[in-house]
């Protein structure tokens, strides 16, 4: 196992489209182990995509289980992932190991349905929402040569609510919303 170097903007290789994984062998599992070790070595990243370490195949790792109060499928290794269905949208702040010291607001689907293979090639499907769905969309973008900075919207235009919170009692409200 080894920690690999993370490609950083403006490295042109981050814009390339990664190829589907064909062989589910020991070499794949070793490369996945390196990818995970690299994810854990940096700042607290909830995900990493293979092209971020210069490996241009369709593999991502996502694990949002360390975030408090976030529902998730735990630690996921997604090989050849494909989003089949998107639903809703919300704005959220993102950063990236490949874009150090910058965060920005990005619109993502709230809920997604996803199919992917696991490291042994078994097909699985997932339904997910919120933070986990955001993380998966962020990582799959890497496989298609896209970074979150390609999708950033203005900080000043906060049109989309991330979530609806009932903040105030509505009875007797002096304010008409």
């Amino acid at each position: 196992m080894a920690i690999r170097d993370i490609l950083r903007v403006p490295d042109e290789r981050l814009k390339q489209v990664s190829a589907p994984v064909q062989r589910f062998d020991a070499a794949l599992r070793l490369a996945i182990a390196d990818l995970e070790e690299t994810r854990l070595a940096g700042p607290a990243a909830v995900g990493i995509a293979a092209p971020q370490v210069g490996w241009f195949e369709r593999v991502v790792i996502v694990d949002v289980s360390t975030k408090r109060g976030v529902s998730s499928h735990g630690h996921l290794v997604l090989v050849n992932p494909e989003i089949e269905h998107w639903d809703g949208y919300e704005i959220g702040r993102e950063g990236c190991l490949s874009v150090p010291d910058y965060t920005g607001n990005v619109i993502r689907a709230t809920r997604i349905r996803l199919v992917a293979q696991d490291p042994s090639g078994e097909r699985r499907s997932y339904e997910m929402e919120g933070f986990e769905a955001r993380a998966v969309q962020h990582e799959i973008d890497h496989l298609d040569g896209l970074l979150f900075i390609d999708r950033v919207v203005s900080r000043r235009t906060d049109l989309f609510r991330r979530k609806v919170y009932a903040t105030q009692p509505t009875s007797g409200s002096a304010l008409r919303r």
Binding site: G47, R93, E94, G95, L97, R134, D158, R162, T167, L175
Partner: protein, 168 residues
């Protein structure tokens, strides 16, 4: 820190930054926005020119574009970003004192404002004040909500939610 304020028209940023670049200045972080129809920009500049030199350099452009120029010495550098963990959305019938009431309540709760934007929406008869604040707090969202709860009785809706920045 260079501040320019004036009448808005297309091409101001291009004219100003070209002048600065040709004089050997390096531009850093910048924030331009229209406020009440006025052009405003603040930008960090790094270079050998002192404040009065900068003002002299920009004087012809400023006169031409009807801009007022202000220069302050400021320290600055890269990697000073602080990531907000709390978003505050404020809305209320427009009247004096909304900003003071909200930000005072937040300051008492130890909240540090990183970004603040506000707008007046609605129509002339019933203007509505809308403000978005992003900032940092070590307190829980619940305790911040308690800190602003009294504002509801004054007709100010304050919505506080966490900002979970995703690093991936």
């Amino acid at each position: 820190m260079l501040t320019l304020v004036g009448e808005d028209r297309p091409g101001i940023v291009a004219r100003v930054t070209t002048t600065l670049t040709e004089a050997g200045c390096n531009l850093g972080e910048a924030s331009m926005i229209r406020l009440g129809g006025n052009f405003t920009i603040m930008l960090m500049i790094c270079g050998d020119l002192a404040g009065p030199d900068l003002e002299r350099l920009l004087a012809p452009v400023a006169a031409d574009l009807h801009l007022r120029v202000h220069v302050d010495p400021a320290s600055g550098g890269l990697h000073h970003h602080v990531v907000p963990n709390i978003q505050v959305r404020v809305m209320g019938a427009d009247r004096a004192g909304i900003v003071a009431a909200v930000t005072t309540a937040l300051a008492r709760a130890g909240f540090n404002i990183l970004e603040l934007q506000s707008d007046v929406a609605g129509d002339a008869d019933r203007p509505v004040y809308i403000m978005n604040i992003q900032g940092c707090s070590e307190r829980t969202v619940e305790s911040l909500r308690e800190a602003v709860a009294h504002l509801h009785a004054q007709g100010i809706a304050v919505d506080i939610s966490p900002v979970d920045t995703l690093i991936g």
